[in-house]
């Protein structure tokens, strides 16, 4: 870990201070430029104005601190955890700190960047420096007041002291501090001195959430706002042929029925479209019919009253199409090599035994509880957009281009989001509402129903993995993983995840089938299914090697030297420690009668996680009772929030592995609401016990890494209980009742 305590680069690059007219100190900094190594900081501070900052610390004359957090909250807890890091180094009592959402405030907050699993990891150094710098400025101001050297002063819990025994509160020196130079060198705290980091802090919005205060995009309203509901093709591959709005228009609450699509087509024809708009390319061929009304219910009814005919413009695909095409890819020879070590051909030829399995997963919708929605007000002066989107910057860019407006005229304000899971990285609903508002010229909110959301998603793509391994002298000598996926393949360093580096002869290949069904990121993209495939496969390898499944993984990890291969991000040591902790806490191998365990361990999103699932059989079917999770995410900033992420991720992983079933028939999804599409519910949930590996390493993300190992651990527990090897998700479609062999 670099520079744990002393950081010397210039804070001028990302900090600026100002006195407040009302008294107090305002410190501006930029989450974007301060959090990203690759971004060059602006050189000329005098040319910066506060518009360039998106996060602020306000210290009032009474010493109370307000941290304006720009990061949109999708439920991952960064709105609590990031201010905790600042407050720790600023050294104020946590109950003197309040956290405000930057959005919906002033024009100061127009360029936020969305969080994600990397918020804490990237923010760690910058947030600590910001807090420590602010503290040093207050100390410097006190030193001037006392006419002593600043090095003889210290500060803790909002109080500055000198060696003469004098004390001043932070609030007493804020006005002076506002006029001082930003100090260059600050010392960061030693982790053992932490008073806030590592202690439970309740979600800063908890009280608003549990009392039903307006927080979410769906809750946002302005005077005179209209509502819009969009009718899109029912099947992928179809476009609008004609429509009849007579009945819809006869409804008293329906104000107008219009079509959109032309602006999106023009934008896309420019050819230089933003990559995040990629998937909307597919939908832009068609016109969409929009019902404008006075209330949500008016437009829901209005849309039902529309009559539209659609024609096929490209292929309308079925799940069978995808199954056939993906198998063809796995059987073929046209795959891209993503990593290759040694000689798998030779290893397989010399093996005592070769095992091969194919694992299959369906498309999955995100199903955020808050359906997609967005507000737009397009006037000659400005374009104002408000709502839940994880990529406000991209949304502003696309909308500016779409409407032929200057980027400076486009303002995006973010609301709290009722879940993201990847779906709100894609701003389709923002572009649609912008096009609608430009025509209607009144403030308007686009509302999606659950059916809209589920039938026109940006789904997790269907994927198949085929894994083959060679075994000689009870050791794994070769490993060959093939990926066949719809639209796109595993990205970044995923081909170098475990067991890369642990098996001498190793090959990862991938290929894809291009579909007109829109796909995108879904909580822990690719690894959400890849981990299931590999971790299930390892249990079979363990059996073939006549080893305990945990021991097989520990033995493989012994073949890896940390830091040797620049592409290998996971640490054998950290993974081993996590595995050992999970083994200890779960009583691996020593359960009571009737309890069956399955193991899985996976590294993703810079965090190492090991899980043990305990199941029992009830009427011959598995009941998931308990999951023991060991996590190495470095320093745990907020334990209650961290556990929340793990508990949610594990249950989400189990739920989708078990029940997530989504298929297409002639371009149309079969299920469009929760009456037939099954999500995990409370009765099916295990109790999750989370343990953290204790160390002083920089914190890493938790929103995603709990999910990938869950499905594999469950499959391995079911195999341990019944002998059934599950290779296809969702399990519920292929589970065999243990006692009588009947399919459920």
């Amino acid at each position: 870990m670099k520079n744990q305590n002393k950081l010397t680069f210039s804070r001028r690059n990302f900090l600026r201070t100002s006195a407040l007219a009302s008294g107090g100190l305002l410190i501006g900094f930029n989450f974007l430029t301060s959090c990203e190594d690759a971004v060059a900081p602006p050189v000329d501070i005098s040319k910066l104005n506060f518009k360039d900052f998106n996060a602020f610390i306000k210290i009032a004359e009474n010493g109370y601190v307000t941290i304006f957090s720009p990061n949109p909250e999708i439920g991952q807890g960064v709105k609590t955890a990031m201010p905790m890091i600042i407050a720790e180094e600023l050294d104020v009592p946590w109950d003197h700190v309040s956290v405000a959402q930057g959005a919906l405030d002033t024009t100061n907050f127009t360029r936020q960047v969305a969080g994600g699993s990397q918020s804490i990891r990237f923010g760690w150094d910058a947030l600590r420096q910001t807090g420590a710098t602010a503290k040093q400025m207050l100390i410097n101001a006190a030193a001037i007041k006392w006419n002593v050297d600043a090095s003889t002063c210290s500060a803790s819990q909002g109080i500055i002291k000198n060696t003469n025994g004098d004390t001043l509160g932070y609030g007493d020196v804020v006005n002076e501090a506002a006029h001082l130079e930003v100090p260059e060198d600050v010392t960061l705290k030693d982790t053992k001195d932490y008073k806030i980091i590592g202690k439970n802090a309740i979600n800063v919005d908890a009280e608003k959430i549990i009392t039903g205060k307006p927080l979410f995009g769906l809750d946002y309203k302005v005077e005179g706002m209209l509502y819009a509901s969009v009718l899109r093709p029912p099947a992928f591959g179809q476009v609008l042929e004609s429509y009849d709005a007579t009945d819809a228009k006869s409804l008293p609450g329906v104000i107008d029925v219009i079509t959109i699509g032309e602006k999106a087509r023009n934008y896309l024809n420019k050819g230089d479209f933003n990559p995040s708009a990629h998937w909307s390319v597919r939908l832009s061929k068609t016109d969409k019919v929009v019902v404008i009304g006075k209330t949500t219910w008016d437009v829901i009814k209005g849309k039902k009253a529309l009559k539209a005919t659609w024609k096929n413009d490209s292929s309308t695909e079925s799940t069978k199409t995808h199954d056939d095409e993906l198998v063809k890819i796995l059987d073929g020879k046209n795959l891209d090599i993503r990593r290759e070590d040694g000689n798998i051909k030779k290893a397989f030829a010399e093996a005592d035994k070769v095992i091969e399995r194919t694992y299959e997963s369906p498309f999955l919708p995100h199903n955020c509880m808050e359906p997609m929605n967005f507000f737009a007000d397009v006037t000659d002066e400005k374009v104002h957009l408000v709502g839940p989107v994880q990529t406000p910057e991209a949304a502003a860019n696309v909308v500016a281009s779409l409407l032929n407006r200057n980027l400076e005229d486009v303002h995006v304000d973010m609301t709290r989001m009722g879940g993201g899971f990847g779906r709100r990285l894609y701003g389709d609903f923002v572009y649609e509402v912008a096009e609608i508002a430009a025509i209607i010229k009144q403030p308007i909110k686009l509302i999606s129903t659950r059916e809209d959301d589920m039938s026109l998603g940006v789904y997790r793509p269907a994927i198949k993995y085929r894994i083959a391994a060679s075994i000689k002298d009870k050791k794994v000598t070769g490993y060959h993983l093939k990926e066949a996926a719809v639209n796109s393949n595993m990205y970044g360093l995923i081909p170098h995840f475990f067991p890369a580096g642990a098996i001498k002869n190793y090959k990862v290949e991938s290929g894809n089938y291009q579909s007109n069904i829109t796909t995108g990121a879904w909580r822990a993209p690719y690894t959400n299914f890849l981990a299931f495939a590999e971790q299930s496969f390892f249990d079979e390898l363990a059996e073939a090697c006549e080893k305990d499944p945990v021991q097989l993984r520990l033995d493989l990890l012994k073949n890896v030297t940390d830091g040797e291969d620049p592409n290998i991000e996971y640490s054998a040591k950290r993974m081993t420690d996590a595995i050992k902790l999970a083994v200890e806490k779960s009583n691996w191998g020593n359960t009571k009668e009737g309890v069956h365990q399955g193991f899985s361990a996976y590294y993703s999103h810079n965090t190492h996680v090991a899980e043990v699932v305990d199941i029992t059989l009830k009427n011959g079917l598995p009941m998931v009772e308990k999951v023991t999770v060991a996590v190495d995410c470095g320093i745990v900033v907020n334990p209650t929030g961290a556990k929340n992420q793990i508990e949610g991720g594990v249950i989400d992983g189990i739920g989708h592995a078990m029940y997530g079933d989504f298929s297409f028939e002639n371009g149309k999804p079969k299920d469009v609401n929760f009456n037939t599409y099954r999500l995990i519910r409370m009765k099916e949930t295990p109790i999750v016990h989370t343990y953290f590996v204790e160390n002083n390493l920089s914190p890493t993300g938790l929103g995603e890494p709990g999910l990938p190992p869950a499905g594999g651990a469950l499959a391995n527990a079911i195999k341990a209980a019944t002998g059934q090897i599950l290779t296809k998700q969702p399990f519920v479609n292929s589970l065999i009742k243990h006692d009588n062999g009947l399919k459920v």
């Binding site: 309740i202 009280e207 549990i210 009392t211 039903g212 307006p214 949500t296 929760f674 009765k683």
Partner: protein, 153 residues
């Protein structure tokens, strides 16, 4: 359009809407009570749960025409001076993640606890099974209902 008189959170209100308008949209669009959430529109997810004469119901699927004179409590009306014990338990255990479904969860829990003040875990799981939480905060919801029962006893 017709006028309907209801009691919402102890106050008498009159609304003029289409007779088939679900209570959910009357609350959200007409009365500005946006704490009650829209999730599925077909009574499957529980995000829209409110109390009708103290009993948890799905406001997305009850037309206003059937509610003349009804007594409705929403999440906004649950706390008086201080938080309801269920809300307190929710806060104490840091239940919400994204938070969107939690108003509905709390309304289901409060109604359930008024009928079964001493539930065991199985009772809690049965009672809360109709409310989806996509963040899967189920473990904490389960614990919070148990804690609330303790607080209320």
């Amino acid at each position: 359009m017709a006028s309907y008189n209801l009691k919402i959170n102890g106050k008498s209100v009159s609304v003029t809407v289409d007779e088939d308008t679900p209570l959910l949209w009357v609350l959200r669009d007409e009365l500005n009570l946006v704490g009650t959430k829209f999730g599925c529109g077909i009574a499957q997810c529980g995000a829209c749960t409110v109390h009708l004469d103290g009993t948890a119901v799905r406001s997305c699927s009850i037309p206003i025409a059937s509610l003349e004179g009804a007594n409705i409590t929403t999440i906004e009306g649950l706390a008086d001076e201080k938080l309801h014990p269920v809300q307190e338990a929710w806060k104490e255990l840091d239940v919400p993640q994204c938070g969107y479904c939690q108003a509905g969860q709390i309304m289901t829990a409060t109604s359930f606890l008024s009928q079964n003040p001493n539930p065991n875990n199985k009772d809690i799981r049965n009672a809360m099974n109709g409310n989806l939480c996509r963040c899967a905060s189920y473990n904490r919801i389960e614990k919070a209902v148990a804690l609330a029962a303790k607080k209320m006893s």
